[in-house]
Symmetry: C2
Subunit: 603 residues, 2 copies
């Protein structure tokens, strides 16, 4: 017990922690002013780099770490210590150090080499400790920019970060818009939820009310080891999903051990938390923890939608926003707020809510790397490459099956592409794997946006370098202004729409023109099937289906659609009727002789 | 600051808290053995009663409180202090004190009059304090039963409780099955999730590692006021939903006040939590908190499904299980596990997941009382009343519109009722407001269960005293054994089923016979509409609809269904074809002349 208590007496040992093995130090003289008042007489940044800067200085990627991270994002070699983001950063990894020059600085206020509470205050000759001033994410990012200046990097290819790292990316892209071409915000938010903030407050109270915190002078006496351990335990609970905890700790309600002087170890999960808390105290400084958690709490790129649109609208870069379904600390709806505001501000953004069981921690693990890694890789490729590739070539490259639905849609797509003016801005609702978008991109387009609800298809689009937002049609449409697009396309999707009136109203609001295609229920063969056969016709443009397994929820004829347009006072600008069995246009009695129709409509 | 520190120095003042104003004390001599070992030399129970016990002693309702509750469930009069469940208990309230005799005891281990850590240990003459033994929910409930014996109550009408109160209800109904006719479990669970348990561990660590806890002897010295306040703050965060916190604390990131010696008040939510923590310390004993939170953590009615089925199968009562959609501490899926096991064990259960914004706290608030109050009232009425009322009479009483869908379905219902043997056990899939169930109940039935996905309709069924489980069809069917019901009914619901094969397979597994009714797409008028009119027919048995607003997702003809049965090797035992426009049976060419069909099928 004595040994254990000894271990918990102090976190002094790490207060003056030196930079990590591969850390380089840059020192900046002169006062560094702070957003919340005051200044630091001098600042040092500890950072690591991976890969080589190219001759044009155009391949630099800034990796921003979360609250307990440091400059060691990845291994520098086989025998190196593990990095905190080995899943993402390294040779051939999504952030590929064979192609990119990666810079990862320890943040201001940290305890791994960059100036923080453990650093010596030049005015006293002793560590800052509790007297370290309040710092903000804005302060952290200004220091990142000073470092970039020192390294001679005028513009980053991209800035990438999760959690607090995502906050730094948001800050950089909006406060220094010329410094970055792509911003990837992962498992992050415009600001903490009241719930996440509340957990931080409870954790800080545990530290600040630890008598060993109150008793100690900066740099002296025992540190608040119990308070810090409790804050870390609490943090750990919030980083995991409920599902992950259930799997990890099963249902064991066994009393393992009751040791009144140390942390409770009655339950498996208690034992785990005690271990996490104790381990953290050995490597982290309590004042750094208080400083960084407060910086997170104070961070906000906007409380209202209008604020967010204004602030994010200052950015000039492309965006990738990724969240994880089971992350309840930085819940997906907060990432959606970022996406929403970026779209409203007319920025280019790709997004995905990755289905995951791993909670907030998902962005650090390699379990879901196939998804978020692919999204990140595709995003960096897109920024790097510039114009979009030719759809046919790149369909082969992506290994897409030419006999798939994608292929079957071609006849339809060709007609639709002909109906869209070259260069027009286009929103494709339910864009699937991006076949139509890729065709439009190949012809050149002022702006292309796809909405797709299926995560797999969003990932395919990301691989193809297409900017696609992971969203259902209704909430996706709500994000755009009146008449924002020249053309809105609803291709072979009307039959799966539940609220037809809402979708039609919204697409006609957002698009100056709309293109709608659907299978025709009143096609000759369908009529015969019901009238003579007494069987339900199932329009099956994309493959044979039955009444019991069709994915469609609506069936309509060309005449039904025309009736609907008349009733709702929608103008029909053009109608193209097709018989896809022969590949021919139908001009006479299309409601009888066409199996697919494409309409161009407007208000 | 001095005054504040003084206030926080000790929670001694409440260690010997006397019973509340209306509390009565019953004292039990002799050793009271404890489940986790040891015994208490004597125990006292503080309890309050509301209303009058009837001559048959058959109207008693036991109300069980949660961790920070006490015997004062409700006001005893206008000028009384508020009770913790005034929303639910009182004259004319869901637990109606004009009809029921309500008993609410403070739990064993509590600090409001019942024996707990603040009570004097007869062996030392001093309060138990930290030496109070580990107690379990089982111990609490054995003491409840001793109290019932003392009051001469052989069988309760019902036991009702939320959270830890729900755990007591589960324990009572399974360990003392003869003592209760109805068990209502609200916002509770078979056991805590690993996540909820983890929060408890962190809170207890804050108390147990508070130096004022370690330093104090039982009944002496300052108590762990800081640790208890931190535990309570953490508890509060878990009782609220994220939505509710966002509404309550908005986006304010203002620094309100920084007072290093007291709890952090920088943010609105921090100020709120500090207040909650401080208030709690004034009224609650830290050792009681540790004792009760540990009892919750140790509680389990079964870790596996098999355990749960075995344990819950010991009960003999009717059940009501209510959860709240935004409760993440006792999440709805845990209540569903209870429902699932009760159904598997053949018990009668009604259930509902109430759509709520208020998190775990919802069961204490009156915001959602229209829902959970109605469910509770209907449940108590059902147990009280015995046989179900006549559906026609009771439709009038419930104020149901005779021109509603319910009424329109009558023709169909009459045919279905004729196809079900009197007394047969019946499962009705998608039972709506319970019109068919009520008809079957009026004829007498061995067992009736309804499944309904719509919360409003579940509440209507509860008001009618029908046992309905709030569930979708697929996950509902999965809960039943092979051949568990004589008849499974899918009335006018096939057309809204997405996975037809799964539902058909499952209903044929669970029911020895199945009754399926649906509108016939190949009805003469529908054929004409497509063949001659070129418009989509929309079978509209329950009212006129269009292709764009029908709730149906499937359209099929009688012939389609017969083809399907042939393909899938399903036996058709009987077919009844109806023309509901004339109200007549159709015998010649039903696929052309009937608009509705009812099939009896089996494997």
């Amino acid at each position: 017990m004595a040994a254990e208590d000894e271990r918990f007496r102090s976190s002094d040992s790490i207060r003056n922690a030196r930079p990590l093995r591969h850390g380089r130090i840059e020192r900046f003289e002169g006062p560094f002013p702070l957003e919340h008042g005051g200044s630091l007489a001098e600042v040092e940044v500890c950072f690591e780099t991976f890969g080589e800067l190219d001759a044009e200085r155009s391949n630099a990627v800034l990796v921003c770490h979360a609250i307990s991270g440091d400059s060691h994002a990845a291994r520098h070699g086989e025998d190196d210590d593990p990095g905190w983001w080995d899943a993402v950063v390294g040779p051939g990894k999504p952030v590929d150090t064979l192609r990119h020059f990666v810079i990862c600085p320890n943040v201001l206020g940290g305890c791994r080499g960059t100036t923080g509470p453990g650093s010596v205050d030049p005015s006293t000759g002793r560590p800052y400790g509790r007297s370290f001033p309040t710092i903000t994410v804005g302060d952290m990012v200004r220091l990142h920019v000073q470092l970039l200046d020192r390294l001679g990097i005028a513009q980053l290819l991209a800035a990438v970060g999760g959690s607090l790292g995502g906050h730094q990316v948001l800050e950089l892209a909006t406060s220094f818009p010329d410094r970055v071409r792509g911003a990837a915000v992962i498992a992050s938010s415009p600001h903490l939820t009241a719930q996440a903030l509340a957990f931080d407050v409870v954790g800080r109270n545990a530290i600040l009310r630890d008598p060993n915190y109150q008793a100690s002078e900066p740099g002296e006496g025992p540190g608040p080891a119990v308070g810090l351990a409790i804050a870390r335990m609490l943090g750990h609970v919030t980083y995991l999903s409920r599902e992950a905890m259930m799997e990890k700790f099963g249902g064991s309600r066994l009393a393992l051990e009751a040791s009144p002087a140390a942390f409770e170890r009655r339950f498996e999960v208690g034992s785990y938390l005690a271990h996490q808390g104790e381990k953290f105290v050995e490597r982290f400084d309590a004042n750094s923890y208080v400083t960084l958690s407060l910086a997170m709490d104070l961070f906000s790129v906007g409380e209202t939608r209008a604020d967010l649109v204004e602030r994010l609208g200052r950015s000039r870069c492309d965006w990738l926003v990724v969240s994880f379904s089971s992350d309840w600390l930085f819940p997906p709806f907060q990432s959606e707020q970022i996406v929403d505001a970026l779209l409203a501000a007319g920025r280019t953004v790709s997004s995905c809510v990755v289905e995951s069981r791993f909670g907030h921690d998902a962005f650090l693990l390699d379990d879901d790397i196939d998804r978020y890694g692919a999204l990140l890789r595709g995003f960096l490729d897109r920024i790097d490459a510039g114009p979009l590739p030719d759809p046919a070539e790149e369909m082969d490259a992506a290994g897409l099956d030419p006999t798939s639905i994608f292929h079957a849609r071609r006849v339809d797509y060709d007609r639709i592409v002909e109906l869209v003016d070259p260069g027009a801005s286009v929103l494709d609702l339910g864009c699937g794997e991006g076949g139509l978008l890729a065709r439009l991109a190949a012809r050149g387009s002022r702006r292309l946006v796809g909405l797709e609800i299926d995560e797999d298809e969003v990932v395919v689009c990301a691989r193809r370098g297409l900017p696609v937002v992971h969203s259902d049609i209704v909430s996706g449409l709500a994000r755009f202004h009146d008449g924002e697009f020249d053309v809105v396309i609803l291709s072979q999707t009307l039959q799966s729409v539940r609220d037809v009136d809402l979708v039609m109203t919204e697409m006609l609001r957002v698009g100056r023109r709309c293109v709608v295609s659907f299978p025709n229920l009143a096609f000759r063969a369908n009529r015969e099937r019901l009238a003579s056969g007494g069987r339900a016709p199932v329009p099956a443009f994309l493959g044979p289906r039955h009444w019991y397994d069709t994915p469609d929820v609506r069936a309509l004829s060309i005449a039904d659609f025309e009736d609907y347009c008349t009733e709702r006072e929608i103008r029909i600008l053009r109608r193209v009727a097709l018989d896809t069995t022969t590949g021919k246009l139908v001009s006479h009695d299309p409601n009888l002789d066409a199996d697919v129709a494409v309409f161009v409509i407007a208000r």
